[in-house]
């Protein structure tokens, strides 16, 4: 590893970051599903331009 002032790896063990990682992943996936894929009319119509622009399959 190069001798930079900031390391590119995390030094705390996996066990102590697992809970945050799982929460962050689940919350993120839930949000992306709601924004991009959920079939609800309200979500679709509100997110319409973003879905098209982001390249999500739409309609």
């Amino acid at each position: 590893m190069a001798a930079t002032s900031t390391s590119n790896t995390i030094s705390i063990p996996l066990a102590s970051r697992m809970a945050t990682a799982v929460v962050s992943l689940l919350l993120g996936v839930f949000i992306i599903y709601g924004v991009g894929m959920a079939h609800s009319d309200m979500l679709h119509d509100t997110a319409h331009d973003t879905r098209h622009s982001y390249g999500f399959p739409c309609h």
């Binding site: 930079t4 900031t6 390391s7 590119n8 790896t9 995390i10 030094s11 705390i12 996996l14 970051r17 697992m18 809970a19 945050t20 990682a21 799982v22 929460v23 962050s24 992943l25 919350l27 993120g28 996936v29 839930f30 949000i31 992306i32 709601g34 924004v35 991009g36 894929m37 009319d41 309200m42 679709h44 119509d45 509100t46 997110a47 319409h48 331009d49 973003t50 098209h52 622009s53 982001y54 390249g55 999500f56 399959p57 739409c58 309609h59």
Partner: protein, 236 residues
């Protein structure tokens, strides 16, 4: 729970979502509005020989204008969704870094952003180009399934290529990334489109450029915020 880490991640996502909104209005939204003028014009004249696929192939059977969207106006809705979406993509990126034991920093943030762009935008768009309203498209559920599988395979492939040193892992990674494109994205039986092809090609390029910008901003701001506010949580 690494609270500072989560908060810094969400703030970075909100920031990228704010900047995504004006970026979308440069090209993408004007092209969407232009394409919507063609909704209802085509798509119905070619249905006779495709009666079975009619429901799937008919673009846009619901009226966009009288929709069920939140009452914030078109710009307000898009800004709200971009804020939420930015946070969502930031959370997934931050989670990936935690699982992998990697630190997102100001120096390497742009590479995390490029990885996100490659996984979520470029790879799916390679076979399933971003669609304008009124364009013909295959069954929605089939396209969504293909999109999701492609995102997962690409993420796995990129992990093998970037973070594993064995040559076989890199070859397997390339195979994972290429596989969904060899399989092929779902296509409509009838490609006749009421939307002029120029609009569609302009849209495909402008959306990729816009999303590249979004991911670059997201990666760099994630790196800066995590490095500035959450560094202490990641050290023993």
């Amino acid at each position: 729970m690494l609270v500072k880490y989560l908060l810094a991640t969400i703030v970075a996502g909100l920031f990228a979502g704010i900047l995504l909104t004006p970026a979308m209005y440069v090209r993408n939204v004007p092209l969407i509005l232009h394409a919507e003028q063609f909704e209802g014009e085509g798509g119905h004249s070619h249905e006779s020989d495709h009666a079975a696929q009619g429901a799937a192939a008919t673009p846009h059977e619901h009226a966009e204008e009288a929709g069920a969207e939140l009452p914030l106006g078109r710009l307000g809705n898009t800004l709200l969704i971009n804020l939420v979406a930015g946070a969502g993509f930031a959370l997934v990126t931050g989670a990936a870094a935690l699982f992998l034991g990697r630190r997102i920093t100001l120096q390497n943030g742009v590479y995390w952003g490029l990885a996100g762009f490659f996984i979520f935008n470029f790879a799916p768009a390679f076979s399933l180009a971003p669609e304008l309203p009124a364009m013909p498209a295959a069954d929605l559920a089939a396209r969504q399934t293909w999109w999701l599988v492609t995102v997962l395979l690409t993420a796995g492939g990129l992990y093998l290529i970037v973070l594993k040193d064995f040559i076989w892992a890199k070859i397997a990674g390339i195979a994972l990334i290429v596989a969904p494109h060899l399989y092929g994205a779902p296509e409509p039986d009838n490609l006749t489109s009421p939307v002029p092809p120029t609009l569609a090609s302009e849209f495909a390029v402008s959306t990729l450029a816009t999303n590249l910008f979004f991911w670059a901003v997201l990666g760099i701001s994630l790196g800066w915020l995590l490095q500035t506010y959450a560094q202490s949580e990641l050290e023993v």
